[in-house]
Symmetry: C2
Subunit: 412 residues, 2 copies
């Protein structure tokens, strides 16, 4: 008798009909003889409604009270989900983060999970044959103050429960069929992947693929939880997110991704020496700017240092003043800001042992008429900064080059 954790996101429980549909999934697993834990998010745009209520009261709600407020969204969902399962004659019980003792630190709004104290209660309810429905996204600190886990929080709850209870499967139900070789809205030939390795999905998420939040994937990787991404309304096998295996390594490039929303900052003509780069990025981190990639750190022939990096374009308006100030303080001659860049990346664990991937990528982009402005690489990613308007063209070109639309002969 396997233990299955099923997580349903906000769009999968947005109304009564969808709650019944999600309930039917849980019931089917229960009737197949499994022990079933269901983790749910707040209904549809309930979280937005609650945030709006808070901002009607004050422009600066306290984080503690915001968490107290927002956690009600998931509590409504679990109660309704339990009712829907009861309606089908199957026993079920709903539990909040506090009721399962999902302990976190006190970082309201993005708390870290410390443990699950009521593991015994969950297990005893499961042995009674109950479907156990748990509120995602929320926990409590040691004084029972309500905390929330931040972006992707319900996925994190599901993975954490799967890890703690040593579940056989952790199914994430969402509104896509699984993880694709590229965004199908941009690349019509994009193919759903049956399997993908944790490190790959982490990089794909970082490079702009929106399937699960990196944090929950990291947790799954650390505790070796096999995550199964599936469509909540359609049948189909979805995508398994698994550990690296010799079989999976045969595929050199697993997927391609596009980040359209980047801005590039250049700090030009600074004093020579490695110390200046260290000081620059320390200062950038201190002001809370999140740098996507450091793309260049060059020493000019005139004895000066040039530093370039990318950040989220949405943060650029806020960042502009900070960057100007840093430039002056650190002795750079000029700041160059380009708000219209994108990054196309290919990701694959197989690329570690295969030379020539970068060369094939650059050649393909060149043939497609895409100008590569900068290159960034890591062990399993090669990324090219291009003009934003060439981003989609670039994505299609690399997807084609590595034949990602066709299942490769050796791997899957």
């Amino acid at each position: 008798m396997a233990l299955v954790v099923q997580k349903f996101g906000g769009s999968s429980v947005a109304d009564a009909a969808r709650i019944h549909r999600a309930a039917a999934r849980a019931i089917r697993a229960r009737q197949a003889g499994h022990r079933v834990i269901v983790v749910v998010s707040a209904m549809g745009d309930e979280t937005d409604r609650l945030i709006n209520l808070a901002f009607q009261i004050t422009p600066r709600p306290s984080r503690r009270e915001l968490d107290q407020l927002l956690s009600t969204g998931e509590q409504v969902s679990i109660a309704l989900m339990a009712m829907a399962i009861h309606h089908a004659g199957v026993p079920a019980v709903s539990l909040t983060g506090g009721q399962i003792g999902l302990r976190t630190d006190r970082t309201y709004g993005r708390a870290r999970i410390l443990g699950v104290t009521q593991r015994g209660r969950i297990e005893s309810l499961l042995s009674e044959g109950q479907v156990v429905i748990v509120a995602g996204f929320q926990g409590v600190d040691e004084e029972l103050n309500v905390t929330t886990l931040g972006r992707g929080g319900s996925d994190t709850t599901a993975v954490a429960l799967a890890a703690v209870l040593k579940a056989d499967a952790c199914e994430i139900y969402t509104d896509v069929d699984g993880v694709f070789t590229a965004d199908p809205r941009i690349v019509p030939t994009a193919r759903k992947l049956d399997r993908v390795v944790y490190e790959e999905i982490l990089e794909l998420a970082a490079q702009g693929a929106q399937v699960m939040h990196s944090r929950s994937i990291e947790l799954a990787m650390n505790y070796n939880v096999v995550v199964h991404v599936r469509h909540s309304a359609r049948e189909g096998e979805g995508t398994m997110i698994v550990q690296e295996s010799p079989e999976l390594e045969q595929t050199v490039v697993r997927g391609a991704a596009l980040r359209r929303d980047l801005a590039r900052v250049g700090l030009l003509g600074g004093p020579l020496g490695s110390a200046v780069a260290a000081r620059a990025f320390a200062a950038i981190a201190e002001v809370g700017l999140i740098v996507d990639d450091i793309i260049q750190n060059t020493h000019g022939s005139d004895g000066t240092t040039n530093i370039s990096f990318t950040i989220d374009a949405a943060e650029m308006s806020e960042a502009r003043d900070v960057v100007q100030r840093l430039s002056r303080e650190l002795g750079f001659r000029a700041v160059e800001i380009d708000q219209d860049v994108a990054k196309v990346s290919v990701v694959g664990i197989g690329m570690r042992s295969h030379a020539g991937v970068a060369a094939r990528m650059f050649a393909a982009l060149d043939r497609a008429g895409v100008l590569i402005e900068n290159i960034t690489t890591s062990e399993i990613v090669i990324g090219c900064i291009v003009r934003r308007e060439q981003g989609e063209l670039a994505l299609r070109a690399v997807h084609e080059e590595f034949q990602l639309g066709a299942a490769p002969a050796g791997g899957r």
Copy 2:
């Protein structure tokens, strides 16, 4: 430094503006140097919205899950109230029923309070100068399952906290100016009472005056909590609900009330003997029918028993079959149902020691042309069953007779 409990009902926190207004009350008390606990209900019709969600899922939601669902209403209110108090620069912290350890039994939907385990936490927050905001209507059982207290539940929470923490005042903010000698919508000369005794308000509530639920008044009486009923939007002294005192006993009749919504049931021609009445009311209690008054139990000259009682008219359609069945089982000859009766009552602790109140009441009704169909009395109440269409006329007549609109010379 006094400890004040302030309770705001749903209409007093129905939107952001009203929440700020209620917050201002709490802040004023805090700034006057008091320690302040605020108990709040769910916003306006939030409870109805949640019940509606449940019934979209299933016609028979489980009571446990309904409590899990409904308790979110008050949780939203406390978070918003805390934000409103913060907005004015005053420290405040919101706590759910679970967070203050308001322990109840497991009677979902109408749980009884067993105690408050986190009294120390409340007291330590108060000593820090925090306004402590508590979710009304909710508690938890020993396994931390969420329970709700049923009708008037937030008043009960406020009174219970005032009792446990030995508060100096328990202020119930509502949308009326206080307790009146009669319903001012029916009797324009009705006067607000400055003081009323627990027993009187209990009878007035039972006789149809809608100020506070009997349960919270009983709790206040048992723990001698002085309850202060006040208008949430208007200034004014409201009504104090207090212990009996010699001064208050000087007023013979404190108030008059009208219950318009009664039906009278007669079970006619049953077997003689007291046992039959006992059997009849035992059977009535068993099927869950709530009898308002037993108004007659007579032995006819033909050697039969007649039993009459009143019930809520709204329950009559459901009760009709039950009553017919009971009548057959117990050997009555016929059932007589009158769906159009009302009851006018006068209430006052002073009436215990004053003869002649009943006679004055009957004479006044007679002069007003009201036909008295039945009479029911208890130690501090005299009630007359009349035709429903004569109910308002009857109420005005007795209000006038006892000069309730003018403050009596001796008492208040």
